[in-house]
Structures are given as structure tokens and as C-alpha cells.
Symmetry: none
Subunit: 210 residues, 2 copies
DNA sequence: GAAAAAACCATGGTAAACCATTAGAAATAA
DNA sequence: TTATTTCTAATGGTTTACCATGGTTTTTTC
């Protein structure tokens, strides 16, 4: 049934409908062995233990961000091709994803042919970008400014801030000194050029960093 | 090939992936003749000229809102069952859709069985609601609580706070004393049972008060 | 294994937010 | 026209956030 030179393709998406759609779409191409997951962590488990050629990765997952999973996958298995699949048309997120090692990005409104062609592109060593993604990337958007890169800790602190925790609470939660938390706060404000925490959270949420 | 008692089912969704997914899902049920559209207007055209039993209608469409299309479909063909399909988990949108004559609402994270069962329900004269939709409608979600009524001034202050203004800035903007602004802040915190401004803004945005 | 980045902690200070209570004037509803 | 709510403002105090700077240790990266 399966040929030896079949490619192992993993799909990760927590929308069963999309999962089903991609599956039926790609089954028509007869060169893929397809494995589907609804959780990023499960897929990661699989990829760690089984040779995986291609991953189609939803950016918004119930158990974490596709951005992180992309990075993790690339760490575990650098040769695996990772293509982002998302509704998120945010310029910044596309760039962040590619920065994290992604081999391409496809919007969910792409049609069948486009998807197939993108994947073929990626297989041949190219970059897989759906038409609309290309437009977004080229669009010299003045509205979105260069988003700062956050460290793990900063991300954690930011998330705590966003749910309304005070420095004391965050310190307790992360087992660090209040002073350290305040340092992170200051760095976050500077990185985002925000004048207070509310502005910070606003910018972060607008850019889907939380 | 097609039996006479097959049901004509129209899918409208501008995401080819979802379209494909629903198609392959419903093809397994052998009682449907399936017609797929990516534009609401095209589907409406079809429905006007061809007997249609069921419509699965995406709420977010490129050429208009599913809410409107639902209403139009029901005008042209009142007996057609219209089921909303969306990522939008907003309580208000679900209710508005049903108000517009919709026979059900399914979130895109529903799984295959759930979708099939919902549609069966609708065919048998029932209402088609996926599990999560039911929860949202019942308000079992602890996140939505009795919202406080805000005065005009409080609303203005809240909006200013949400964009990151300080009390001094708000005072200047509204031509009132800083002290007054701080009073409003305190009242807002109490009304929302929030412990700081970030929590306040979070609750307010979650409940679409801003 | 050296260089760089990230995480940690500190001092000392200013500004802003948060808390409790009171209270008069103006708008609104009964 | 009362009664109620809203808007306004105040005193006086506590807590938290924000600012500038500098230093140590751990982790990552080359």
C-alpha cells in the first residue's frame, strides 16, 4: 500500500474540519503518508520518534502557539519542512514564524491547487507562501511596526501582567524577587515603547503576542 | 447515482480547506447531494433557483455577513434549514444568528460526529447546536458574569484608560479634575470587582464594553 | 572556552494608581 | 417635587508602578 519513498506528512490543527479538509486534499496526491494531530504536543512527540518530512502546522493551537512548536520541531528535527497554516494574516506573525525556522506560510483561504503547489515548492527546497501571504509580506505596511523579540521570562511576565497580576504576585508565581519582576517590566516597556502597562498589554494583544 | 430522496445540501465557506473538510465528511453520509460555494451571493443564487434542504453557512464571508445571508435565504426559501458554521464563539453573534432564523450553530472546532449529529437533529425538526455552543448559550462559562451598568462618564473614562491614558491625561481630555478621574477609576474597579486597571480593561474588552 | 545574551538582584527615588470617606451641585427619574 | 443617581471634588494616606543605573550569575551561542 505505502511505497517506500512516500513522504511522511504531519498535519496539526485543532479544527477537525480543517484537518479533514487537508487530509482529503492531500490524499489525492499519492505521495504522502498522512498523520493528523489536534495537539501540538502530541505532534511533537510523534515527530521526535518518527521520521517526518513535512509538517503543516496551525498557528493557533489549544495547547500553545504554533510559533513555539515550529521552533521546537526544528530543534528536534532540523530537516523537517514546517509550513504554517493559519487564518492569522498578521504580517508580524508571518515573519516571526519564518524567523523561527518555518519553511512557509499558507493562509486558510488558499485553494487546493495553491496548497499543493506550495508544498511541492517546499519539498524542492523552496519557500512555501500562498498568494495572499506574499502580498501581505510585500505590502509595506506602515501600520505594523517592528515587533520586539521577547525572552522566555519576559513572555511569562508579560502574560502574567496581562491577566492583571501585580509584581508581587508574579514574583511569587515565578519564584523570583519582586525587584526582578520590576526589571522585566521596565525592559518590556522599553522594548514595546509603551508608557505604561495598559499600553503594553494593548500592543501585545493587538499583535497576538499573548 | 443520486437517489430521489437525497437531500440537497449547500455548503458556503470561503476557506477551501474547511469546504473540503465538510465535503469529505458529509460524503460519507450517503444521503446528501452536496453543493459547495465560496461566496454567499452565489449560494443565494443557487438556493433561489434550486430546491435546497440544508445550508451550512459560514458566518464570516468575503462578500458579506452570514447573518444577513441567513435572513435572505429564509426569505427566499423558508423551509430550508440554515446552520451557522463559524470560529466566532461570541454569544451575541450566536443569538443574533438564531434570531435571524438560523436552525443551528456549530463551532469549527466541533468534531465529525458532532457535526453529523447536529445536522441530523436539524433534519428532524430540532435545533442544531454543537456542544460548546450550548455551553456558551447557557452561560455556564464562569467567565461571563453579570455586567455592571456604566454611566456615560464612566464609559468615557474606561475607554481612555483602555488606550493607556493616565489620570492626568484623561482629566485634561474631559476637562475635569484628576481627582474626579480617580474617583471614576475607583468606582469602575468596584463595579467590575477588578483589583487593578489591567484586570478592568481585560474584563471590559472580553465583554465587548469597549 | 570565550563572548554574548538572558536572568537575576539591588539602591534610591518619582509618579501614578489605589483606598476610604465625605459632600455639594447637577441631571434624571419617581 | 421629592428622591435618586451621576458628576464633581476634596483630604490624606498606602501601595504599586515606573525610572536610572549598575552588578552577579547562569545559560546560550559561536
Amino acid at each position: 500500500m505505502y511505497k517506500n519513498d512516500d513522504l511522511n506528512l504531519v498535519i496539526v490543527d485543532d479544527h477537525p474540519m480543517v484537518l479533514e479538509g487537508l487530509k482529503s486534499l492531500l490524499h489525492q496526491e499519492e505521495k504522502f503518508r498522512i498523520f493528523a494531530f489536534t495537539k501540538g504536543s502530541s505532534a511533537l512527540d510523534f515527530i521526535q520518534e518518527n521520521k517526518t518530512d513535512i509538517v503543516l502546522l496551525d498557528i493557533v493551537l489549544s495547547d500553545g502557539s504554533g510559533l513555539n512548536f515550529c521552533q521546537l520541531i526544528k530543534q528536534k528535527s532540523p530537516k523537517t519542512i514546517v509550513i504554517g497554516i493559519s487564518n492569522q494574516a498578521e504580517r508580524s506573525i508571518i515573519f516571526r514564524f519564518l524567523e523561527n525556522g518555518g519553511n512557509g506560510y499558507i493562509l486558510k483561504n488558499a485553494d487546493a491547487d495553491e496548497i499543493i503547489q506550495c508544498i511541492d515548492n517546499a519539498i524542492n527546497g523552496g519557500i512555501a507562501l500562498s498568494k495572499e501571504v506574499q502580498e501581505i509580506m510585500l505590502c509595506t505596511a506602515s501600520n505594523s511596526f517592528e515587533l520586539p523579540r521577547l525572552t522566555k521570562r519576559e513572555q511569562q511576565v508579560l502574560e502574567s501582567i496581562a491577566i492583571g497580576n501585580t509584581s508581587a504576585e508574579i514574583a511569587e508565581k515565578l519564584f523570583i524577587s519582586i525587584i526582578t519582576v520590576e526589571t522585566h517590566r521596565r525592559n518590556l516597556l522599553q522594548k514595546f515603547k509603551a508608557k505604561n502597562m495598559i499600553e503594553l498589554v494593548k500592543i501585545a494583544t493587538e499583535n497576538k503576542l499573548i
